[in-house]
């Protein structure tokens, strides 16, 4: 997922073009997971890379967590400006019938259960779970995105997993038969 980059003094247009080509799709997917439409996700990605160019001397070699962090802050500003407006979570991949069954108790629930349980968690819980589960970052990288220490992120992940498990166990039976099509996201 990362891109090899040169030292800061060599970060010209060529470096930026390479970064853009390598990570644009990943940043768009970050947006797709948190916004309702592809156009908004593409616009978010453009703004992320505008920031990356402006602050190119700060972009680390392992650039993707840094870019996600920028996207997260831009989204936070965007949501604050739309206070009270629900965000519809995109629900795709409906052909996925069950979660993998090879790794323990987590896997005995249906897709709809996981989505519904995730939607009722707080934003920080959701974000640490998404960063680990969807962006596939390490705990250290997720800590960078959220802006905390690795130890804090590890604790947040542990607690978020515990609350997710609790939410899934508390879901009424009907949720297993009715896909969640939309959810109101908590304000940051």
């Amino acid at each position: 997922m990362g891109v090899r980059v040169g030292p800061p003094e060599k970060r010209g247009e060529g470096w930026f073009t390479g970064l853009y080509a390598a990570e644009y799709a990943n940043v768009v997917r970050y947006g797709l997971r948190r916004l309702a439409d592809a156009d908004a996700s593409a616009e978010l990605a453009q703004e992320v890379f505008v920031v990356a160019w402006r602050r190119r001397d700060e972009v680390p070699d392992r650039s993707l967590p840094w870019l996600y962090g920028v996207a997260r802050r831009l989204l936070a500003n965007h949501w604050r400006s739309r206070r009270g407006v629900p965000d519809v979570l995109p629900i795709t991949g409906a052909d996925l019938a069950r979660v993998a069954s090879s790794s323990g108790a987590d896997t005995t629930v249906g897709v709809a259960d996981v989505r519904a349980a995730l939607a009722v968690l707080g934003e920080l819980d959701q974000e640490i779970l998404r960063l680990i589960g969807w962006e596939e970052l390490t705990v250290s990288e997720a800590a960078h995105v959220i802006g905390c220490t690795r130890a804090t992120a590890a604790v947040r992940l542990h607690r978020a997993r515990r609350r997710l498990a609790a939410a899934m166990s508390e879901r009424p039976a009907q949720s297993r038969h009715r896909p969640v099509l939309a959810a109101t996201r908590e304000e940051l």
């Binding site: 891109v3 390479g18 080509a21 593409a42 453009q46 779970l129 596939e136």
Partner: protein, 336 residues
Amino acid sequence: MSGAERTRTLLGPVDPARTAVVAPPLVSARELINRAGTTETVAGRRRVHPNRRLVLAAGTLAVAAGAVAALQPFGRRPPDVPGGTGSIAGTVLVPVSYQFDTDPPEAGPHLRALAGKIKDADHEHLGGRYTYHHTKVWGDPVMTSADGRHQVAFAGETKVWQAADGTGSQINTQVEPQYPDQESRDYWQRELASRPALGAAVTPAPVPLPPMELTPPSADPSRLRELLKVELGPGAASKEVSTLYQRFVVPRAVRAAILRVLADVPGFRWRGQVTDRAGRDGVAVTFDDREHDAQSLLIFDPTTGELLAHERLTLSPVRISAYQLILEAARTDRMG
């Protein structure tokens, strides 16, 4: 298994972007740089030009050379480089020639006949913990000159070893530039002929694959129709067939069922015998999507019924938009 790994196992299958196809950038890197220089705030939403291709402004050779260096990091020089060091060479893509180029017959009867006679593939006599796929793709994204006439993109090869639980390893390699026409090749060679040499060779690093649910495709026709999204038409079905073959080693019964499902999708035309971009003999079907000026092409192995290639073309002019080649599908106990 760590908490992070368990989280990926649990949430991976409900990732709404897991299978999302991201369109090429609407604006170029150059435009974003210009935007950064002319605006002070970045939080607002901004409508951009509705150009769905990565556009490189004419004359911005530094940008273009940077893109070349970034997209072709392995220093491989194609054999037909006519220019000096650093020139951008590569091959011109020509459309696959069809046996039935004009007035092709309906594909249904031919696909059913093929389904009835296919043989075992080599992989059906192999065991192994991992499936192995070696694929080559081109066309996403395509870089376009400012006047919109000249395109270039770099082909990419991917090797994937994947166990039943989704874990495994993947190696991506960016290879040679390819062009949809000679004019594009001439343009990009001329524009970039004097640029510095590309970077030194870099060995691509394997990427570990996290667990994910992999449900092998069923030979049940109704489930296959759903999996291949045939209700959305032949174009969507073509794409899904390609995705399925790139993800699974498909057994003979399922291959036959896929051919029969496609036979019942209205719109496919039989193109007869073809040779794919890897030089393999095949038989082909196409679907012309006039509304979107696009053609979908599927090439099957005439002996085993395996998918060899999936291509997208524009109809006017007839030109390659993208291709995927499945160079090898096998089973193995060893990665790498």
